[in-house]
Amino acid sequence: MKTVLIAIAMILLAGALVIGAMQLTAPTTLPNADAQTFARANQMYEKGQYAAAVNLYQQLLAQGVENADVYYNLGRAAQAAGDAKLAEGAFAQAYTLAPRDEQIAQAAHASSGMIPALTQNEIALAALGFVALLSALVLTMRRRPVQAHPVI
């Protein structure tokens, strides 16, 4: 009974840790000005002013914005402006943030038929959950009652 309680407690602890860590990955909403900058950059691109669009996207990133869409659009604008290296880097970064976005995966030349890719954060959360559950298993097994062997 004690063992079962410990197991349940440890599993709950593992879940709590993972949920707590997930809170650390929650995106933050940026001021409206940033969304407007993003929209303006898109307009520049649509008008064929690729270099201007690249500058605006890069401004956002320089402010610390980490957004897959911004990276993707930067990649497209850089591609149109003829900066293949910048485009490649931007697509790769976008793919790191949103590997299951088909548009981004295609741009990053990632093969779509593979196992769905995980973000870095998802891998980190999985690692935390695994360690917590493994710890639970270790603690539970250590408290497993010893069976007395019958003497013949």
């Binding site: 933050t28 909403t29 969304a35 649509e46 980490e66 943030l97 548009q103 954060n121």
Partner: protein
């Protein structure tokens, strides 16, 4: 009889074997052959006769044949083709030289015997006679020269008969490909030709690379196309036949001047029995003429031959309800880079240009296709309006003239709309910005700007708090393991455990003791119990003097030992004599002091 029969049989066998040997020897001694054939022996002066000379060679070598002047005939066309074959391990190459001869007179015209010396062997054809009668102006037979001299595509030419003939319409004997191919024992050859040497900017040039192997090549030859500097290149499907291939690229010059097409390269890796081979074509020069002056205002660079149509999805609508007009340009030209029409803007509409769809294919050396533009027009006012005609100009190289197409104007009736329903009408697909600004028509779609932009936090791996979370389960396991280890250690060392806990246990008891008549006795018991735990032995009945000695044996000072014995004696006096030599408080104080002193001085 039997003996005679056996000798006769042996003689016949020997004869047979020797006959076979001589036959094969004779055959081996005549590896070359030359034959002459005509496709008709009676023609009119309006007809032509095809003379085909077939030269067979075992090693692929073939000289350049020069047909001597023939009395009564003019050579009006020539062709050549080759056939490579392996029969019973013996390779041979047949070259067919076909000459289209036109008679210049009537009568029995004789094509004399032709002589050729091949590696010291004299080869001779038979003389052939052609009976020529007077014609009436209408040919009675067709020339066979447009077909394969060997008779059909089964000939085995690497490119097949028709493709071969269509490209080699010029004199094959001056063709460097054949001089090169048969001037040595090459097993892989490559040749590049263009169908035009002088074109206008934007006019297609068919660039064909023909590769011929001898069928014994190991592996797939690797083709490296030229860079086509100054051209827009449109690849077409390569054709294969026999052991050769034909790779055609449509080239559209993008600049005027004397352009050069760099050499194309073909290489094979070689194999166990063969060396790697690398062959290059020669550079080809193309003269590109600039487009003539006088281009119409609508001209945007389109070169070719086109038609333009405009089709609206409806001609009656309401304010805010879009009309989609499909403009299609079809014809031949470079559809890969075909410019858009110059659209006209109108204040009565908000116009959205959708991405252009392009469908094209190569047909007969031309890039044919359809380019479709779907314009979404959203009326902003009610009334009867005209979507203006769209004009599209192009340059046609075939007549060296500019032409202007016009898609008809479209009359549209626009009824009043419901403002509530039409305020935010936008084109359904692919349409982008309103047409008062240049529109990117072929750029990939972007991610739409959201109402609120979000930013991902630092990755978890860069957040210390995340790593601290790992310490919780790992710490619990670590603590549990440490306690387990300690427990096991203490279980295995009970005496030590008892000794290590003796002082704390005794002090705890002393602190909690009640002050009454039995205090001194209890203190003595606690101290005695402490000493038993420390020494891991029973002291029941042991005289105090012996206890003192035991203490001193553990480096406890004599003063401390005396204090201990005195304390024990006070306890016994109280227990057995019902007397208290010292007060309970003093007894507690003394016990605390003695226990601490002994614990400090104790040594194993």
């Amino acid at each position: 009889m039997n003996k005679f029969y056996r000798i006769a049989l042996l003689a016949v066998a020997l004869l047979g074997v020797s006959g076979l040997w001589f036959t094969s020897k004779a055959h081996a001694q005549s590896p070359y052959g030359l034959q002459a054939q005509i496709d008709a022996d009676t023609i009119t002066t309006d007809d032509t006769v095809t003379l085909t000379l077939t030269l067979t060679s075992p090693d692929g070598r073939a000289p350049k044949l020069n047909l001597p002047a023939l009395d009564g005939f003019n050579v009006i066309n020539t062709q050549t083709a080759s056939q490579y074959s392996i029969v019973n391990g013996q390779t041979s190459t047949s070259m067919a030289y076909a000459y289209e001869l036109q008679p210049t007179q009537t009568g029995d015209l004789v094509i004399p015997a032709l002589h050729l010396n091949m590696n010291g062997q004299d080869l001779t054809t038979e003389a052939l006679t052609v009976h020529v009668t007077q014609g009436n102006g209408t040919p009675t037979k067709k020339s066979n020269l447009q077909t394969n001299p060997f008779g059909g595509s089964a000939f085995g030419s690497p490119f097949g008969g028709s493709a071969f003939n269509s490209v080699f319409g010029n004199d094959p004997f001056s063709d460097p490909f054949f001089q090169d191919a048969f001037g040595r024992t090459a097993s892989l050859d490559i040749q590049a030709v263009t169908n035009k040497q002088s074109v206008y900017v934007g006019e297609p040039v068919e660039y064909t690379v023909r590769v011929a192997g001898d069928g014994t090549l190991l592996g797939e030859p690797v083709y490296e196309k030229p860079q086509f500097k100054g051209f827009w290149a449109h690849e077409t499907d390569s054709q294969r036949g026999g052991s050769g291939a034909e790779i055609t690229t449509l080239l559209f010059p993008t600049q005027a001047g004397n352009l050069t097409i760099d050499p194309a390269t073909i290489r094979t890796d070689g194999g166990f029995f063969s060396e790697p081979i690398e062959k290059q074509t020669e550079s080809l020069a193309i003269q590109v003429k600039p487009l003539p002056q006088g281009a119409p205002a609508e001209f945007n660079g389109a070169v070719g031959k086109f038609e333009l149509t405009a089709t609206p999805d409806k001609t009656a609508t309401r304010v805010g309800e879009p009309i989609v007009v499909k403009y299609q340009i079809r014809g031949t030209g470079n559809f890969d880079t075909l410019p858009d029409p110059k659209w006209q803007n109108d204040t009565n509409w908000r116009a959205y240009d959708a991405k252009a769809k392009n469908e094209s294919s190569v047909q007969f050396g031309q890039l044919s296709g359809i380019k479709t533009f779907e314009r979404t027009l959203i009326p902003t006012k009610e009334g009867n309006f005209t979507i203006p005609a769209v004009r599209y100009a192009y340059f046609d190289p075939s007549d060296a003239q500019y032409h202007t197409l016009e898609a008809q104007a479209i009359q549209v009736n626009v009824a009043p709309g419901d403002p509530a329903q039409t305020q935010n009408v936008a084109p359904a697909t692919n349409a982008s910005a309103p047409n008062n600004a240049p529109v990117v028509t072929n750029a990939p779609a972007l991610k739409i700007a959201p109402a609120q932009l979000t930013s991902a936090p630092k990755p978890l791996s860069a957040q210390p708090l995340f790593w601290a979370m790992f310490l919780v389960p790992l710490g619990l396991v670590g603590i549990d393991l440490a306690f387990g280890l300690r427990k096991r250690y203490l279980d295995n060392n009970a005496a030590e455990r008892r000794a290590s806990r003796a002082y704390q246990s005794a002090m705890k008891k002393v602190r909690r003791i009640k002050r009454d008549d039995t205090t001194n006795m209890q203190i003595a018991r606690i101290v005695l119990s402490y000493l038993e735990d420390r020494m891991n032995r029973s002291l029941l009945g042991v005289p105090h003097s012996s206890i003192a000695q035991l203490l001193m044996a553990h480096q406890v000072s004599s003063d401390a030992a005396v204090q201990v014995t005195e304390l024990l004696r006070n306890g016994e006096v109280t227990e057995f004599g019902k007397l208290r030599l010292v007060s309970a408080q003093d007894m507690v104080t003394n016990a605390t002091e003695v226990l601490t002193r002994v614990e400090e001085e104790w040594a194993e």
